[in-house]
Symmetry: C4
Subunit: 231 residues, 4 copies
């Protein structure tokens, strides 16, 4: 498959992040408009988010890599999978796309174009949750690319499906999406003042995953290992 130039790659990152955020924010609005049960609202939110991730990574991955996430772009820049000169442009495209996604969701549901969220998400338990969430996301991406590259869209979609439920923060795991979600005062929002805590935790989780999996994914070169089980 031929390569794509930087403008197309940036449009892909921006469009993908916009559709991802529109799904996260929009499905949250839809869910809370239809039910009083917060568990059910999270279920609708989860289903939509997991499904769109599989779709977006499959259709935009071949163009830009389908990061949609500054923490992921950072990891790929560190590991030289993404040219380091592209990192800033990628992150900007993700931020712009994310904000457009929030605006699109608001327009679809007849809300003000932008609102600041008043939803409190702070404290050690939340930050630990975000660290774990992003650690897991990066672990899934790194190991998935190594062992089963074609399955990565599914792995990410399924991982986030689980992480919406097993972390106390519902797993933002994405600094650009977190920023975009600070601009909606609905189900999926986060107070702007709570963003820095999330960003630090997310980047820390991502870096720890990169370190651990750089070691873990390195097969032994010793020829004395003769019986390695593989499922």
């Amino acid at each position: 498959m031929g390569g794509f130039d930087l403008p197309r790659r940036l449009v892909a990152e921006g469009l993908g992040t916009a559709m991802l955020v529109a799904t996260v924010v929009g499905s949250g609005i839809m869910a809370t408009s239809l039910t009083q049960d917060v568990g059910l609202a999270l279920l609708g939110n989860t289903l939509a988010t997991g499904a769109i991730l599989v779709v977006l990574i499959t259709i935009l991955g071949p163009i830009s890599g389908a990061h949609f996430n500054p923490a992921v772009s950072l990891i790929f820049a560190i590991s030289r999978t993404l040219p380091r000169s592209n990192l800033t442009a990628y992150v900007l495209a993700q931020i712009v796309g994310g904000v457009i996604g929030t605006i699109a969701a608001h327009l679809m549901f007849g809300l003000p174009v932008i609102e600041l969220s008043s939803k409190v998400r702070t404290g050690g338990a939340q930050w630990f949750s975000e660290g774990i969430a992003t650690f897991g996301l990066v672990a899934v991406i790194l190991a998935g690319i190594k062992f089963e590259q074609k399955a990565v869209p599914w792995l990410v979609g399924l991982y986030i499906t689980a992480a919406y439920w097993f972390t106390a923060s519902t797993s933002f795991a994405n600094p650009a999406v977190a920023l975009a979600r600070s601009l909606t005062n609905t189900f999926s929002g986060i107070r702007p003042i709570d963003l820095p805590g999330f960003w630090v935790a997310e980047v820390a989780g991502a870096v720890v995953a990169l370190m651990l999996f750089t070691w873990l994914l390195q097969p032994s070169t010793s020829s004395t290992i003769s019986s390695e089980p593989k499922l």
Copy 2:
């Protein structure tokens, strides 16, 4: 795989659209008969629709292309994937199939054969939702066919699963299905008078997607691009 003649292709389009509409309408009736929670009703409706789309596109795609959707057939006629002389027949088969689907759902649930819906679905937010919904659907189909053709049934099923929740209109994204849904006064209905607004929005979204993705999916021919990331 050998080719299929026009009668078989039209039967496939009609049968597929009938089963799709029977699922959308029938699962909506089932859901509202079992629960008072509208969020839960949409969840049942979503699950059934997403699942049947994967099935129908897989089993009928090799025969007719499995459009089941005049907006999709129009895009393929514009891009010459569908012979333009077949467009009218395809759309008629989809319309007839869709109406049969509504009738079948009504007979299964012991309702009058046909009813006119009184469900209001109009206004700028709804039309913007339908535009976005159909834009996304066509984007998924065009990019899916290019990058991962075998996955297209899954991508469409997952996309609609998400779009039922992230758009305010629950993502009809299909003029023939919208028409068929105007003939049921149940959960999934739409007032006949609201159809033209949906149709215009759907076709507009589809055409915008065709234009954007015709550009986006064109790899650079410049040999100076040497490091293109691919997930």
Copy 3:
């Protein structure tokens, strides 16, 4: 892959039908013990049934074909995919397995070994539902085998997921499973006296599907067809 002898094939049919029925009956009991919302109960029932079908058809299909269903075995006997001399043994294995499945579910939930169901499922709308349900199931199997054999477990699981919701009968679509479900007086039961109506409708739907798809799946041999779209 080597062939399996008749005893192994019959054990596979019996075990698979037992696990399928244990899932249908058991998940219905679990669901109604946990929630008052019938829609939610059907959702749990659906999720479990769809998931186990993918699993059972994948792991037992290579041994016996994974019919678990007299209507399917009948269609394969008519089309000579199953040796006709095996039909009776297959059906008996499915019936015995189904009954064992109901018993196993009852033992897991501490209920009497066998009960007769008092759940009324009769009348034209129910029979029409069962006919449509089984028509669709056989259509999916026949077209799936032709176009995408490896996907058949997924297609059947997804089809039943949808059919639980779009048919008024919740899609039994299986005479042996229906019989086994007459022996439980829980969520998924059916009155014994209502069985014959279901059986007739199921076999009729299966035969209509065989006839229609025998025609539909036959590619044109005419060399004058030159432009056949394929998704």
Copy 4:
């Protein structure tokens, strides 16, 4: 693919079991904090567990085999898929990982690091449920590896999705995870005193599955079998 040395394999087993338990325990806490409906809570718990199993087995299977389960490691040691000298180390890694998983879930949700569960899970029906649950799990793994190795992560995830609903015990099916779940007094807990009953039932179910499937999966060598159906 090269082999991985024992330290990496043990880290993979421990990390995978930790993430599995964090998901089971964490999603149970999240679910019960959001809804009063126990059926809905189990649904969220199920979705998260099934999804993370697909992910973890895919990304860690190539390193360690992705057992995360002493009953599975035992079966593989008996059948010499796992070197018997590795069994103790595997089981220890799974136990340590599981306990870490419970602790991580508690920290994410701001609960005490460790609690003893007071949730009663005992008696014949529960033990029979665990026996069936583990029988099915081992059956799926053995047959899945033989017929469709690449699908095993999906098969296990889908099987557990179903088994959460069709068994009265919600299918622990894993002695190390059961132990870890005795250390949380939340939705997914189990009284420490109830562990031995679960362990015996789980190992018994696993051994029965190994015996039955060792016979069932052996193709006939007789050349007189000429017509074996395959789906």
